[in-house]
Protein backbone atom coordinates (compact mmCIF):
# COMPACT_ATOMS: atom_id res chain seq x y z
CA UNK A 1 0.00 0.00 0.00
CA UNK A 2 1.34 3.34 -0.94
CA UNK A 3 1.75 5.85 1.82
CA UNK A 4 0.92 9.51 1.50
CA UNK A 5 3.33 12.30 2.39
CA UNK A 6 3.16 13.96 5.79
CA UNK A 7 2.43 17.63 6.12
CA UNK A 8 5.10 19.10 8.34
CA UNK A 9 5.68 22.65 9.55
CA UNK A 10 8.75 23.50 11.58
CA UNK A 11 9.16 27.09 12.75
CA UNK A 12 12.02 28.46 14.84
CA UNK A 13 11.33 31.27 17.31
CA UNK A 14 13.66 32.46 20.10
CA UNK A 15 15.78 29.32 19.86
CA UNK A 16 12.87 26.91 20.13
CA UNK A 17 11.64 24.99 17.12
CA UNK A 18 7.97 24.11 17.08
CA UNK A 19 7.00 21.23 14.82
CA UNK A 20 3.46 20.45 13.73
CA UNK A 21 2.80 17.40 11.63
CA UNK A 22 -0.15 15.69 10.09
CA UNK A 23 0.30 12.10 8.97
CA UNK A 24 -1.95 10.10 6.75
CA UNK A 25 -2.77 6.71 8.24
CA UNK A 26 -5.87 4.61 8.83
CA UNK A 27 -4.93 3.84 12.50
CA UNK A 28 -7.21 0.79 12.60
CA UNK A 29 -7.73 -0.28 16.22
CA UNK A 30 -8.31 -4.01 15.84
CA UNK A 31 -11.56 -3.55 17.79
CA UNK A 32 -13.88 -2.90 14.90
CA UNK A 33 -15.77 -5.56 12.97
CA UNK A 34 -16.72 -5.58 9.31
CA UNK A 35 -20.27 -6.22 8.12
CA UNK A 36 -19.73 -9.99 8.30
CA UNK A 37 -18.77 -9.73 11.95
CA UNK A 38 -15.09 -10.42 11.35
CA UNK A 39 -12.59 -8.36 13.31
CA UNK A 40 -10.69 -5.87 11.15
CA UNK A 41 -7.04 -6.41 12.05
CA UNK A 42 -5.21 -3.61 13.82
CA UNK A 43 -3.11 -1.43 11.56
CA UNK A 44 -1.48 1.56 13.18
CA UNK A 45 1.67 3.64 13.38
CA UNK A 46 3.67 2.30 16.31
CA UNK A 47 6.92 4.26 16.14
CA UNK A 48 7.57 7.89 15.27
CA UNK A 49 10.96 9.57 15.25
CA UNK A 50 11.99 13.13 14.60
CA UNK A 51 15.50 14.23 13.76
CA UNK A 52 17.03 17.65 13.30
CA UNK A 53 20.08 17.31 11.05
CA UNK A 54 20.49 13.63 12.05
CA UNK A 55 20.19 14.41 15.78
CA UNK A 56 17.26 12.66 17.44
CA UNK A 57 14.81 15.19 18.92
CA UNK A 58 11.76 13.03 19.61
CA UNK A 59 11.04 9.34 19.90
CA UNK A 60 7.45 8.25 20.23
CA UNK A 61 5.66 4.94 20.57
CA UNK A 62 2.00 4.85 19.72
CA UNK A 63 -0.82 2.42 20.21
CA UNK A 64 -3.98 2.09 18.11
CA UNK A 65 -5.71 4.68 20.33
CA UNK A 66 -4.06 7.55 18.46
CA UNK A 67 -6.63 9.08 16.12
CA UNK A 68 -6.83 8.36 12.42
CA UNK A 69 -4.59 10.64 10.34
CA UNK A 70 -2.51 11.47 13.43
CA UNK A 71 -1.65 14.99 14.45
CA UNK A 72 1.55 15.63 16.40
CA UNK A 73 3.04 18.84 17.77
CA UNK A 74 6.26 19.08 19.76
CA UNK A 75 9.11 21.47 20.53
CA UNK A 76 12.87 21.27 20.84
CA UNK A 77 15.87 23.51 21.36
CA UNK A 78 19.00 23.63 19.25
CA UNK A 79 17.53 23.91 15.77
CA UNK A 80 17.89 26.97 13.58
CA UNK A 81 16.35 28.31 10.40
CA UNK A 82 17.47 26.31 7.38
CA UNK A 83 18.15 23.12 9.35
CA UNK A 84 16.59 19.93 8.12
CA UNK A 85 13.76 18.40 10.14
CA UNK A 86 13.09 14.76 9.31
CA UNK A 87 10.06 12.89 10.54
CA UNK A 88 9.70 9.12 10.14
CA UNK A 89 7.02 6.67 11.11
CA UNK A 90 6.71 2.92 10.99
CA UNK A 91 3.54 0.90 11.42
CA UNK A 92 2.80 -2.54 12.86
CA UNK A 93 2.69 -4.06 9.37
CA UNK A 94 6.18 -2.87 8.56
CA UNK A 95 5.23 0.03 6.34
CA UNK A 96 7.18 3.20 6.87
CA UNK A 97 7.53 6.71 5.61
CA UNK A 98 10.07 9.50 6.00
CA UNK A 99 9.54 13.14 5.08
CA UNK A 100 11.80 16.13 5.45
CA UNK A 101 11.18 19.82 5.72
CA UNK A 102 13.32 22.87 6.27
CA UNK A 103 13.02 24.79 9.52
CA UNK A 104 11.69 28.28 8.85
Amino acid sequence: MATRPMRIRAVEKDGVVEVKALMSHIMETGQRKDKDGKVIPAHFIDIVQAKCNDKLVLNAQWGPAVSRDPFLAFKFKGGKKGDKLTLSWKDNEGESRTDTTEIR
Binding site: D46, A65, L72
Partner: protein, 155 residues
Protein backbone atom coordinates in the same frame (compact mmCIF):
# COMPACT_ATOMS: atom_id res chain seq x y z
CA UNK B 1 46.70 -8.05 -0.99
CA UNK B 2 45.02 -11.08 0.49
CA UNK B 3 46.31 -10.18 3.94
CA UNK B 4 44.80 -6.73 3.62
CA UNK B 5 41.42 -8.19 2.79
CA UNK B 6 41.66 -10.41 5.79
CA UNK B 7 42.36 -7.41 8.00
CA UNK B 8 39.31 -5.63 6.69
CA UNK B 9 37.19 -8.68 7.41
CA UNK B 10 38.66 -8.97 10.86
CA UNK B 11 37.94 -5.32 11.59
CA UNK B 12 34.35 -5.82 10.49
CA UNK B 13 33.96 -8.75 12.85
CA UNK B 14 35.40 -6.81 15.75
CA UNK B 15 33.07 -3.89 15.11
CA UNK B 16 29.96 -6.01 14.91
CA UNK B 17 30.97 -7.89 18.05
CA UNK B 18 31.43 -4.56 19.79
CA UNK B 19 27.89 -3.60 18.88
CA UNK B 20 26.54 -6.92 20.10
CA UNK B 21 28.48 -6.61 23.35
CA UNK B 22 27.04 -3.14 23.83
CA UNK B 23 30.39 -1.38 23.60
CA UNK B 24 29.11 1.01 20.94
CA UNK B 25 26.42 2.29 23.24
CA UNK B 26 24.54 5.12 21.54
CA UNK B 27 23.45 3.06 18.55
CA UNK B 28 22.73 0.09 20.75
CA UNK B 29 20.60 2.12 23.10
CA UNK B 30 18.71 3.60 20.21
CA UNK B 31 17.86 0.26 18.63
CA UNK B 32 16.54 -0.94 21.99
CA UNK B 33 14.29 2.10 22.17
CA UNK B 34 12.97 1.45 18.71
CA UNK B 35 11.49 -1.81 19.92
CA UNK B 36 7.77 -1.29 20.45
CA UNK B 37 6.96 -1.83 24.12
CA UNK B 38 4.25 -4.47 23.75
CA UNK B 39 3.98 -5.02 27.48
CA UNK B 40 3.19 -1.38 28.16
CA UNK B 41 0.62 -1.19 25.37
CA UNK B 42 -1.07 -4.41 26.54
CA UNK B 43 -1.70 -2.98 30.01
CA UNK B 44 -5.26 -2.24 31.09
CA UNK B 45 -4.64 0.08 34.02
CA UNK B 46 -2.33 2.96 34.80
CA UNK B 47 -0.48 0.69 37.25
CA UNK B 48 0.09 -1.95 34.54
CA UNK B 49 1.81 0.67 32.40
CA UNK B 50 3.90 2.04 35.28
CA UNK B 51 5.12 -1.51 35.95
CA UNK B 52 5.89 -2.10 32.28
CA UNK B 53 8.12 0.97 32.36
CA UNK B 54 9.93 -0.32 35.41
CA UNK B 55 8.28 1.78 38.12
CA UNK B 56 6.38 0.80 41.24
CA UNK B 57 4.02 3.69 41.84
CA UNK B 58 3.48 7.27 40.75
CA UNK B 59 2.85 10.42 42.74
CA UNK B 60 0.28 13.02 41.79
CA UNK B 61 2.00 16.14 40.55
CA UNK B 62 0.70 19.65 39.93
CA UNK B 63 3.71 20.29 37.71
CA UNK B 64 2.12 18.37 34.89
CA UNK B 65 -0.33 20.27 32.77
CA UNK B 66 -2.91 18.32 30.80
CA UNK B 67 -5.20 20.09 28.39
CA UNK B 68 -8.20 18.19 27.08
CA UNK B 69 -11.85 19.09 26.51
CA UNK B 70 -14.39 18.62 29.34
CA UNK B 71 -16.78 17.08 26.87
CA UNK B 72 -15.65 15.33 23.71
CA UNK B 73 -18.42 15.19 21.18
CA UNK B 74 -16.50 12.78 19.00
CA UNK B 75 -14.48 10.17 20.87
CA UNK B 76 -12.55 9.34 17.70
CA UNK B 77 -10.72 12.65 17.82
CA UNK B 78 -9.94 14.02 21.28
CA UNK B 79 -7.24 16.70 21.26
CA UNK B 80 -4.78 16.33 24.13
CA UNK B 81 -1.87 18.57 25.09
CA UNK B 82 0.66 17.76 27.77
CA UNK B 83 3.33 19.99 29.29
CA UNK B 84 5.70 18.90 32.03
CA UNK B 85 7.30 21.44 34.36
CA UNK B 86 9.14 18.71 36.24
CA UNK B 87 12.90 19.00 35.91
CA UNK B 88 14.62 16.24 33.90
CA UNK B 89 11.43 14.94 32.31
CA UNK B 90 12.48 12.19 29.93
CA UNK B 91 9.18 10.56 29.08
CA UNK B 92 5.50 11.45 28.87
CA UNK B 93 2.69 8.96 28.26
CA UNK B 94 -0.99 9.50 27.62
CA UNK B 95 -3.36 6.90 29.04
CA UNK B 96 -7.08 6.25 28.88
CA UNK B 97 -7.93 3.57 31.49
CA UNK B 98 -11.44 2.95 30.09
CA UNK B 99 -10.12 2.11 26.61
CA UNK B 100 -9.53 -1.57 25.70
CA UNK B 101 -5.84 -0.93 26.35
CA UNK B 102 -4.92 1.96 28.59
CA UNK B 103 -1.81 3.34 26.92
CA UNK B 104 -2.39 5.56 23.88
CA UNK B 105 1.04 7.07 23.29
CA UNK B 106 4.47 7.43 24.86
CA UNK B 107 6.94 10.17 24.00
CA UNK B 108 10.64 10.01 24.85
CA UNK B 109 12.55 13.26 24.99
CA UNK B 110 16.23 13.19 24.11
CA UNK B 111 18.41 16.06 25.24
CA UNK B 112 17.25 19.33 23.71
CA UNK B 113 13.63 18.30 23.40
CA UNK B 114 11.09 20.22 25.46
CA UNK B 115 8.73 17.95 27.41
CA UNK B 116 5.54 19.09 25.75
CA UNK B 117 3.46 17.42 23.08
CA UNK B 118 0.05 17.65 21.51
CA UNK B 119 -1.79 14.94 19.67
CA UNK B 120 -5.26 13.54 19.13
CA UNK B 121 -6.48 10.28 20.63
CA UNK B 122 -9.49 8.01 20.54
CA UNK B 123 -11.72 7.37 23.54
CA UNK B 124 -14.23 4.53 23.58
CA UNK B 125 -16.30 6.01 26.38
CA UNK B 126 -16.22 8.56 29.17
CA UNK B 127 -12.99 8.19 31.10
CA UNK B 128 -10.24 10.02 32.85
CA UNK B 129 -7.22 10.81 30.73
CA UNK B 130 -4.00 10.21 32.64
CA UNK B 131 -0.59 11.63 31.97
CA UNK B 132 2.31 9.57 33.21
CA UNK B 133 5.64 11.34 33.38
CA UNK B 134 9.07 9.96 34.06
CA UNK B 135 11.37 12.62 35.52
CA UNK B 136 14.74 11.99 37.12
CA UNK B 137 13.89 8.29 37.33
CA UNK B 138 10.61 8.80 39.19
CA UNK B 139 7.03 8.55 38.00
CA UNK B 140 4.37 11.23 38.29
CA UNK B 141 0.77 11.45 37.12
CA UNK B 142 -2.04 13.85 36.66
CA UNK B 143 -5.48 13.25 35.23
CA UNK B 144 -8.61 14.85 33.91
CA UNK B 145 -12.12 13.51 33.42
CA UNK B 146 -13.39 13.74 29.84
CA UNK B 147 -17.01 13.04 29.01
CA UNK B 148 -17.50 11.32 25.67
CA UNK B 149 -20.84 11.64 23.94
CA UNK B 150 -19.98 9.49 20.92
CA UNK B 151 -17.44 6.68 21.32
CA UNK B 152 -14.41 6.37 19.08
CA UNK B 153 -13.81 2.64 19.34
CA UNK B 154 -15.88 -0.21 17.97
CA UNK B 155 -18.17 0.28 15.01
Amino acid sequence: MDQQRRDVLRLGTVLSLAVVAGVLRPEQARSAQEEWNKKAFDGHTVDDVIKAYGGASAADSDKLALTAPDIAENGAVVPVSVVSHLPKTTQLSILVPNNPNALAATFDFPEGALPEVSTRIKMGKTSAIYVLAQADGKFYTTHKEVKVTLGGCGG
